[in-house]
């Protein structure tokens, strides 16, 4: 907006700034607080006497000798074998992103280039599928998966997450492909490319920003999932989020809550880095569906 329409009376400017500061505190403080607290002992982070103990670390100093301790992290990663869950999460998310993008680019491209009515109906069906609560789908899977003996494996969770991801991936990639002029692939086909060659060698190279953005959201869906991974995986194959949930069952024991706090902070770090490096793509991805579609 230009300077003239932007000028604001000072009262409004102060109010607006105060509002933003308040929002930022609400948005970011819980994470800072938990990060800080994860290096304390339970007696400080969940202090019976005074929450100021979490800042000064009275019990942490008394119990461990220093103001900060890595006990929670040691307990989570080594004693409770959180590293296993981290590896599983890595396998699941990378596979889900790669397969989703392969299927999604093919399908999204076809939908953006087809003038027929069924393309519209496929998109509408995808929208309806997008609205299905994941846990209702899981309740459809469980019994068949038990019967087929495929329950509990990472592969099963990957396949299911790819499928649940498809409606969203299709919509997003479809709207990105629409913004690429049809002339581009048509001229490639005039020059003798097949449809697939035009897609592979002409369209995909100019689509990278869209593919990266969609990949980010596929990653988030797989990484953040709880409903599917908590119900379809065995104890040994658990990914990070259900593993953290299972830590909570044993919260009564002194020190165990700090395992969960440390695990939560550990699982937040990749998301934090993701936002840090891909902020622009995330913002453009969130708006792509709204502005273009």
């Amino acid at each position: 907006m230009t300077a003239k329409t932007r000028r604001r009376p000072p009262v409004l400017a102060v109010l607006s700034t105060a509002f933003i500061v308040l929002w930022l505190v609400l948005a970011a403080f819980p994470f800072l607080w938990t990060l800080w607290g994860s290096f304390k002992v339970q007696g400080d982070f969940f202090s019976r006497q005074d929450w100021v103990n979490a800042l000064t670390g009275v019990h942490t100093i008394a119990e461990t000798g220093g103001p900060f301790t890595g006990r929670g992290y040691y307990g989570a990663w080594v004693t409770k074998e959180f590293w296993r869950a981290a590896i599983n999460t890595g396998i699941v998310t990378v596979s889900v992103v790669l397969i989703s993008l392969t299927f999604g680019t093919l399908g999204g491209y076809a939908l953006s280039r087809s003038p027929h009515r069924y393309a519209f109906w496929i998109l509408i069906a995808a929208l309806i599928f997008r609205a299905m609560p994941h846990i209702t789908l899981v309740s459809g899977y469980l019994l068949p998966f038990f019967q087929l003996n495929v329950w509990g494996y990472l592969t099963t969770a990957i396949v299911v997450l790819v499928a649940i991801n498809q409606p969203f991936t299709l919509w997003m990639l479809h709207s990105f492909f629409k913004s690429i002029p049809k002339d581009l692939d048509e001229s490639a086909m005039v020059d003798g490319c097949s449809r697939f060659q035009a897609f592979r060698m002409v369209i995909i190279p100019v689509m990278w920003p869209g593919v990266v953005t969609t990949g980010l959201f596929s990653f988030l869906l797989a990484y953040n999932d709880f409903a599917v991974t908590a119900t379809l995986l065995t104890q040994d194959n658990q990914t990070m989020v259900p593993k953290i949930a299972s830590f909570l069952g044993t919260t009564q024991v002194q020190g165990n809550v700090m395992y969960a706090v440390s695990a939560v902070v550990s699982a937040t770090v990749p998301l934090f880095l993701l936002v840090l490096f891909f902020q622009r793509q995330i913002v453009s991805g969130l708006t792509a569906g709204a502005v273009k579609g």
């Binding site: 948005a27 076809a110 599928f129 609560p133 209702t136 309740s139 019994l143 709880f226 409903a227 709204a290």
Partner: protein, 342 residues
């Protein structure tokens, strides 16, 4: 694009959706008509030095055999839908006859698991969706007025509550409102009531979950509206100013109409996402005070011993009916637009 090529391109994606989204719907429809096999009981006579005793035992072998033979369980027709954990027709009728006042009737109905979950799910959707849109809009207006330099970091911090795993985000807040945590302890000190706990009362638990929902989703509305604000036509804004429109009138009559398609978009996504509210209830351990439809399904599936597939499936079917009701206006509108555009 010829039909043949189209089919080859769409096939992997369409197959994935057919097998893992469309078929499960059929699967829950079928499962909801069955209930778990009964355990096979045998009566054995134990004779000891003090005489004979008759004892009823579960015949594990025969039960397993029955389970192998009928993995779905016994056919139950629509019985599961009407039982106490779902629509509870006979219980409702009994309560209706026993309680003359409406308030008494409603509070009794709220003890039935399905209606309890439905009430919370609807309340959550109805409260969180508009507040997310309003909060997101005001954040977008305020951020848009900030100097360019601080916008990047502000947007970065604003995105965090949305990007966080829902279960983890609710745990982070849950630990802070714990009566030994920073917010919980401060509230106790402020209210001067050491027994006050956000987890104890149903009302406070509901409010906590609503606040979490707004905190989690406001960034999404904010980002969408913020992008929309960048495209507000400047000519219209300036002419509105020249015509003497106040700041608020400009927002009301120029900015809001410009953003209205985005409001519809955010509302649609939020309705779909809020209706399946689930993780926060696990994260806040709030099941004693608030359950949602999704949580009930999860609870049935995780029920100790044998999972209650029939019960979970019936709740799933009822949930999908709710989703269909929510989506109908959108679909009717899309269909009208589509017919008009042809």
């Amino acid at each position: 694009m010829p039909h043949r090529t189209f089919i080859w391109f769409i096939l992997p994606s369409a197959l994935a959706m057919l097998i893992f989204i469309a078929l499960p719907i059929v699967s829950i429809l079928v499962q909801s008509l069955f209930v778990e096999n009964e355990r096979v009981l045998v009566t054995v006579e134990n004779c000891g030095p003090f005489g004979c005793q008759k004892e009823v035992r579960v015949d594990a072998q025969a039960t397993a055999a029955l389970q192998r033979e009928h993995p779905l369980g016994r056919f139950n027709g629509l019985g599961t839908y009407g039982n106490r954990s779902h629509l509870a027709f006979s219980e409702i009728a009994a309560i209706w006859n026993a309680r003359p006042t409406l308030a008494g009737f409603l509070s009794e109905v709220m003890t039935l698991p399905f209606y309890r979950a439905l009430a919370f799910t609807l309340a959550y959707t109805a409260v969180v969706t508009p507040l997310v849109i309003a909060l997101g809009f005001f954040i977008a207006l305020a951020v848009d007025a900030l100097p360019r330099m601080v916008k990047g970091p502000v947007i970065f911090m604003s995105l965090l509550p949305m990007m966080i795993t829902p279960l983890i985000g609710s745990l982070v807040l849950f630990w802070m409102i714990d009566s030994n945590g920073i917010i919980g302890a401060s509230i106790q000190a402020l209210a001067n009531d050491p027994s006050l706990s956000l987890k104890a009362s149903a009302t406070l638990a509901w409010i906590t979950l609503f606040v979490y929902g707004i905190w989690h989703s406001a960034p999404f509305a904010f980002v969408v509206f913020y992008a929309g604000l960048q495209t507000v036509p400047q000519d219209t804004m300036e002419s509105a100013m020249i015509d003497g429109a106040s700041r608020w009138e400009r927002v009301r009559y120029v900015v809001l109409p410009h953003l209205s398609p985005l409001v519809v978009f955010v509302a649609l996504i939020q309705l779909m996402d809020n209706f399946r509210v689930f993780e926060p209830i696990v994260g806040f351990s709030a099941q004693a005070n608030a359950t949602s439809l999704s949580f009930n399904i999860y609870n049935d599936l995780r029920s100790t011993g044998t999972p209650l597939f029939g019960s979970a499936a019936a709740t799933s079917v009822l949930t999908l009916a709710g989703v269909a009701l929510l989506l109908t206006p959108v679909l009717v509108r899309t269909w009208r637009d589509f017919k008009r555009s042809r």
